[in-house]
């Protein structure tokens, strides 16, 4: 790429014998490596500035004083309980007696929510009437919470709430998802 300096022909004979002049150095500088480096740095800074942006989720908690009394039918409710080791327990309705487990994969809890959406849509005319109640055991991690909120976003669930876990549910989890005595 760089130019190769060749001695000018005829210069020797011009000045006669004996006088050897010091070769004149070229003043041209090869810019190619510098440009390479510049582009490398450009790509580095471009990538780091755009890819490193953290994003935010917005979480709205209900205000205590303005209790929203909506007409909730038991068949609209899906309860999701986040447990340790990325396990999810879920049951429909408001009475715990038989909980099933699932996980955070696309075929897991997302399918459960879609199915519930469909059945709510069929029964009540509007799938957006589904209510997901999220509960967490003490062993769940923050990632689990973000993941489940993410699923709410993905499945475009409009109504969901984070609630404290009930004793009955804790008992059911300890018992492998089933309660011995079906509460009245």
């Amino acid at each position: 790429m760089s130019d190769i300096q060749t001695p000018e022909k005829g210069s020797h004979s011009k000045h006669g014998k004996g006088k050897v002049r010091s070769k004149k150095m070229s003043t041209r500088v090869d810019f190619t490596p510098m440009v390479d480096l510049a582009f490398l740095l450009i790509s580095f800074f471009m990538l780091t500035t755009t890819l490193n942006k953290p994003v935010a989720m917005e979480l709205n908690m209900p205000k205590k004083d303005e209790e929203v009394k909506t007409d909730v039918k038991e068949s609209m409710v899906l309860n999701v309980i986040l447990d340790k080791d990325d396990k999810i327990w879920y049951y429909e309705g408001q009475v715990v007696f038989d909980m099933k487990t699932t996980n955070y994969s696309a075929e897991g809890v997302r399918d459960v929510i879609y199915k519930k959406q469909k059945s709510v849509g069929k029964e009540h005319g509007d799938p957006e009437k589904m209510i997901v109640i999220i509960k967490m055991t003490d062993a769940a991690s923050y990632k689990n919470m973000v993941d489940i909120l993410d699923e709410m976003d993905i499945t475009s669930t409009k109504v969901y709430a984070i609630q404290d876990i009930a004793d009955l549910e804790k008992e059911a989890i300890a018992n492998g998802g089933k309660l011995d005595v079906v509460p009245e």
Binding site: F31, V35, P54, L59, Q117, A140, I154
Partner: protein, 210 residues
């Protein structure tokens, strides 16, 4: 071409906002959300062990926050009142506040370079008996509002965001949410800071039609 490339290079170097050195490593969970983190943020961080840290974007507001807290806690911890103005302004360099208020005089008395190098944090207490986080939040909001009035700028109030480590126990997060939603803080809308879901894990299935 060289000129243009160097122009671009200088531009990106100058605009690149380096992540401020994080004294505490927080590995955030990823989410599908694409909302950009709002400016003027009060961040409540939770590390892997569940320790809570308080940080604020605006260094000026941060110092005013501390002054407000000194007024409030001055009776309980008289050493706070002995802090010099220089030591108080050093507080602006504390990236993440993870101390009990009782420790502050001792911590802020350190020279700035040592202050920045400190790594052993006990975390801000959030238990119901001694909820210092609540006071930090309240003082921070007060300082932010004061700053807003002084500058006369028409900007929204400071927003609160929770930045948790993905392995953090949920109890600490719930405790923070409780602090935020209960009196006297009474904030019901806040942000959770996450990273954008990477292409590896983000294999989403198209939503089933309703």
């Amino acid at each position: 071409m060289t000129d243009v490339s160097f122009l671009l290079l200088t531009f990106f170097i100058l605009t690149a906002k380096f992540r401020p050195s994080q004294p505490v490593v927080i590995d955030m969970p990823s989410s599908e959300s694409e909302t950009v983190v709002p400016d003027n943020l009060m961040v409540i961080s939770v590390d892997k062990e569940g320790k809570v840290y308080y940080s604020m974007d605006n260094p000026k507001v941060k110092v005013v926050t501390l002054q407000n807290l000194i007024e409030r806690y001055g009776e309980t911890y008289p050493a706070l009142k002995d802090l010099s103005d220089q030591q108080i302004s050093n507080f602006a360099n504390v990236e993440m506040m993870g101390y009990e208020i009782a420790q502050l005089p001792q911590v802020l008395a350190l020279p700035p370079d040592q202050l920045a190098a400190l790594r052993d944090y006990p975390g801000v207490p959030i238990d119901s008996a001694n909820n210092e986080l609540r006071d930090w939040i309240q003082a921070g909001r007060w300082a932010d509002r004061l700053d807003k009035e002084e500058s006369g700028a028409d900007r929204p109030d400071v927003r609160i965001a929770i930045k948790g480590d993905k392995d953090a126990n949920i109890q600490a997060i719930q405790e923070i949410i409780k602090t935020l939603t209960n009196e006297p803080v009474n904030i019901h809308t806040f942000n959770l800071i996450t990273t954008l879901e990477g292409p590896v894990t983000g294999a989403t299935v198209a939503p089933v039609a309703k």
